[in-house]
């Protein structure tokens, strides 16, 4: 019994994704991550998943980060081989009982006017503002420059 508890504890500690989860009200924000940027880069993209366990929908309306002059919520689409990126001026809906996903090839948090390059291995804070849940601060885990998924997850670069 004690052994099992210890094992469960070890398993929990060994799963960084769980450690990164942030809860606020009925929202759970998981696995915020971003990519290392080049020395002269001025922008970076952040990704995360927002689950809404509540009965009422919420909306990610804005964000800020001490590392960027401005943070916006963007969407990206591929249409006939053409990449298009747009700002979601009204933010991103997080439906009741549903999930809003910000992931490569889709929605992302755009860090604009980086004050210093994002370095692989560091954590970059950002505060998300939701219409209902209020503000939540997350730490983006910075991976490799061209990573397709957060470090340690299948699909990552290394």
């Amino acid at each position: 019994m004690t052994y099992r508890i210890a094992l469960a504890l070890v398993a929990t500690l060994a799963t960084p994704a769980l450690a990164q989860d942030v809860r606020k009200g009925s929202l759970t924000i998981s696995q915020p991550w971003s990519r290392a940027t080049s020395p002269r880069a001025t922008v970076g993209a952040g990704f995360l998943t927002i689950r809404n366990a509540g009965a009422r929908g919420d909306r990610l309306i804005s964000a800020t980060s001490p590392r960027a002059e401005r943070v916006e919520i963007h969407t990206m689409s591929m249409d006939g081989g053409v990449m298009r990126m747009r700002q979601l001026v009204d933010g991103l809906a997080v439906p009741a009982g549903g999930t809003a996903t910000l992931a490569p090839s889709g929605n992302h948090i755009m860090l604009i006017g980086l004050k210093s390059p994002l370095k692989a291995g560091e954590r970059v804070p950002a505060t998300l503002r939701f219409a209902r849940a209020g503000t939540v601060t997350v730490q983006f885990a910075i991976g490799g420059a061209g990573d397709a998924a957060p470090a340690g997850q299948n699909g990552g670069r290394k």
Binding site: S38, R40, M83, R86
Partner: protein, 206 residues
């Protein structure tokens, strides 16, 4: 039931057609090769993307369609402030080069900036320094870039953002050219890795 069978049959026919066309392209491609080694072949007669261009690399050296001849190349058009598809495509090329091993140096990877307004040589060099692959980063005169985008059939549109800045919609496919500078095919960064490696090997061995 019968409807789905018809659809299946149609799909089969379509596949057969694609395969047949592919075969024709391959065959004509092979028979054309000896002629292409002479100087009679003109790129303008071909329907595929490509054509003459004259740009500069990150060290200020002139790079043209002629100087690239001798090795096949994979060319991608993007910009350094593109936060997603451009870095992941470069990372993809880095990975494919690793899979190619010693063969990797028998081809070139080329990145052309579609944002001459922002991307100076230094910005492109800085962007490419993030990837463990020798990529030829190109920029140049905006009018020359426009001509090249047109002949390479790359869609590029500068789109203003509400914040006063701009982004660039652009074709995000990788174009493959053979050692004679003739267009071979396009490649999608999301194509299965093994398949992509096989295609690059074929390009190198051709």
């Amino acid at each position: 039931m019968s409807d789905s069978r018809t659809r299946g049959l149609l799909r089969g026919t379509a596949l057969a057609t694609v395969l047949t066309l592919g075969l024709i392209v391959t065959v004509t491609g092979c028979s054309r090769q000896p002629e292409a080694s002479g100087n009679g072949a003109t790129t303008s007669q071909r329907a595929g993307p490509g054509g003459p261009f004259k740009l500069v690399d990150t060290q200020g050296r002139t790079v043209t369609n002629e100087t690239l001849k001798g090795k096949p190349y994979a060319i991608f058009f993007g910009f350094t402030r593109c936060p997603d598809v451009c870095p992941t495509t470069m990372a993809r090329m880095e990975l494919l080069r690793k899979r190619l091993g010693t063969e990797a140096d028998k081809m070139n990877v080329v990145f052309v900036s579609v944002d001459p307004e922002h991307d100076k040589k230094e910005d492109i060099a800085s962007f490419l320094s993030m990837f463990d692959a020798p990529v030829i980063g190109l920029t140049g005169d905006p009018a020359e870039l426009k001509r090249m985008e047109k002949s390479f059939k790359i869609y590029v549109e500068r789109v203003p953002l509400p914040n006063g800045d701009y982004t660039i919609d652009h074709t995000a496919r990788i174009l493959l050219f053979d050692r004679d500078g003739q267009f071979v095919d396009t490649m999608d960064a999301k194509e299965p890795e093994a398949q992509a490696v096989t295609r690059l090997k074929r390009l190198i061995d051709a």
